[in-house]
């Protein structure tokens, strides 16, 4: 009787998750989507607590309180610039939970057959996503060097570890009672997670975070198979496919394949490539920049990770306000891989109160650059490099870019001429219509804002 009721509750919860994702598609309905998701989760938990095999409420309650005590501050105290780190961390938690449940299940029941296959998948994905996400967190939080860490024979080593882990998994699936294999299996999965992320550099983080998201979901789905729980399967599959789609979107935006992202170690390979001779650049001061911006009709801003690092989004908003007030049309061009996770720039600009209908996707804005009087590049590099379009020999050739070079004047705010993540010189900086604004993005934008503000008062 209770079991039927529980299944019914689970079905409603699954429907809530589906509606939640459906409503997530547009900003107008997205918050309703969150509410629905919360409702679904509440139902799932209540339904589970009702099951008659659940009797130990005390430990559950303590764990709920402890988790909430950590979770609430994590949600409210995290600055928006740290959202990629938080996401990596929560992938780690989710994957850890899945892996530990699988481990407990194994030692308790030692399941056989296909259930064991599901359990091994859950544990493998869970543990490798756990350490992998912790590594990603370390890199994003700059506890670890953000550059790719590579060594000779890296790929063979990684593949060997993965192969051994898979072998141990197969062995366990065939002979589940061989308990000595299980710790080895766990250790291999944990080590592989670390090795997988070592060669990943900052600009590849969006893809990798999305991929880890997918793995975390898949391990929850595998848990559903192991526990014969369809709600887990549905929620896990939704999460798994979401992460998968996002990582495909990211890969396409870089014109690279999965294998290339995971095993390519981008930055390292090209570090020695294309080191152009000293070429002249044109520079400008905040004053010059202000007067050009002032007389423009259409200004398109291309933000990148540098904007996040310099925390320049609020100054950008001030500039947006001043220019809009003078009738200048200011738009923002968002490259899909700008920043450190999918959609990173949108969140930062929204945080700075820039209306979201001013944020344009790459495909929608690229044709507008030709009509733009000014393209203002703030902390973006490789995603604006015309070599991706023109230079067949360039390592980033074929990558879709923002066509900022087509604007009448290009202004680039940048600390120095140092190459971007891909280690490639950016031809954009040496073009005739480009003005380099050397300095910290936040203070330089502050300078421009001051100039414009002074002009208002006169």
């Amino acid at each position: 009787m209770t079991e039927n009721a529980v299944q019914l509750i689970y079905i409603v919860a699954a429907a809530a998750f589906i509606l939640s994702l459906k409503w997530m598609s547009a900003p107008a309905t997205a918050r309703r989507g969150v509410l629905t998701g919360e409702l679904g989760m509440l139902l799932a938990i209540v339904g589970t607590l009702l099951r008659h095999e659940v009797v130990g409420y005390q430990g559950i309650l303590i764990a709920f309180c402890l988790g909430s005590a950590i979770g609430v501050p994590l949600a409210y105290l995290m600055p928006m610039t740290a959202v990629p780190q938080r996401t990596a961390l929560s992938h780690a938690f989710g994957a850890l939970a899945a892996a530990l449940i699988g481990t407990a299940e194994y030692y308790k029941h030692t399941p056989h057959g296909l259930v064991m296959v599901a359990l091994a998948t859950e544990v493998l994905l869970g543990f490798l996503t756990f350490t992998g996400s912790l590594m990603a967190f370390g890199k994003l939080q700059e506890l670890l060097p953000g550059r790719p860490i590579t060594y000779r024979g890296q790929n063979p080593v990684n593949l060997t570890i993965l192969g051994l882990a898979a072998l141990a998994g197969v062995l366990l699936a065939i002979h589940p009672e061989q308990t000595w294999v299980f710790p080895i299996f766990m250790a291999l999965a944990l080590v592989f997670g670390v090795l997988l992320i070592l060669p990943i550099g900052g600009a590849d983080m969006p893809t990798v975070i999305a991929l880890l998201n997918s793995y975390a979901g898949l391990s929850a789905a595998a848990m559903g198979f192991a526990l014969d729980n369809k709600l887990l399967i549905i929620a896990g599959a939704l999460d798994g496919s979401s992460g998968f789609i996002l990582s495909i979107v990211m890969c396409r935006a870089m014109n690279r394949s999965f294998t290339n992202v995971l095993f390519g170690a981008f930055g390292q390979v090209q570090a020695s490539a294309a080191h152009a001779a000293e070429r002249p650049v044109r520079t400008a001061t905040a004053e010059d920049a202000a007067s050009i911006l002032e007389s423009a009709r259409l200004v398109i801003v291309a933000p990148g990770y540098g904007m996040a690092v310099a925390q320049a989004q609020h100054k950008l908003r001030e500039l947006y306000d001043l220019l809009s007030r003078r009738g200048v049309d200011v738009r923002f061009a968002i490259h899909p891989v700008a920043g450190r996770m999918p959609g990173h720039m949108n969140v930062l600009l929204a945080e700075a109160d820039i209306p979201y209908d001013k944020l344009y996707e790459m495909e929608d804005i690229n044709s507008e650059f030709a009509q733009a009087d000014v393209a203002l590049v703030v902390g973006a590099n490789d995603v604006t490099n015309p070599a991706a379009r023109n230079d067949r020999d360039s390592p980033i050739y074929g990558m879709p870019i923002l066509d900022v070079d087509k604007a009448r004047t290009v202004m680039v705010i940048k600390r120095s001429l140092s190459p971007g993540f891909a280690g490639i010189d950016n031809d954009l900086y040496y073009m005739e219509n480009t003005l380099m604004l050397f300095g910290d993005a936040k203070s330089f934008l502050g300078g421009i804002v001051k100039e414009l503000g002074a002009a208002v008062r006169v």
């Binding site: 994702l21 997205a30 950590i70 939970a97 530990l100 029941h109 887990l232 549905i234 109160d353 209306p355």
Partner: protein, 98 residues
């Protein structure tokens, strides 16, 4: 425990449904989307509760179950809350001030 092939159907259908749903999410919202799916994948809490709350659960299950419930609670609480916090910031242009 047996392996029910119906569960495989559920998985495949849910995955396709997921593809269709996510394809329609505007890239504008990819970050909140990821934190939302993160919170949803904290559904692992269901499995964790079953392990921790089981009658006469062995010590190992209790410890692992406790960590798992805590970890998934962190995820679901912070995931839903931060998604909402982010979405609150997405505003359309305010009406022109006179």
């Amino acid at each position: 425990m047996r392996f029910d092939e119906a569960t495989l159907f559920v998985f495949v259908l849910a995955a396709f449904l997921g593809f269709e749903l996510i394809r329609h999410v505007s890239p504008l919202l990819h970050t909140p989307l990821m934190s939302l799916t993160n919170a949803i994948s904290a559904i692992a809490v269901v499995g964790a509760i079953l392990i921790l709350g089981e009658k006469d659960a062995p010590a190992l299950s209790r410890v692992l179950g406790f960590v798992a419930v805590t970890a998934s609670t962190i995820n679901l609480v912070s995931g839903f809350l931060i998604t909402d916090r982010m979405l609150k910031m997405f505003k359309k242009r305010e009406p022109e001030k006179p």
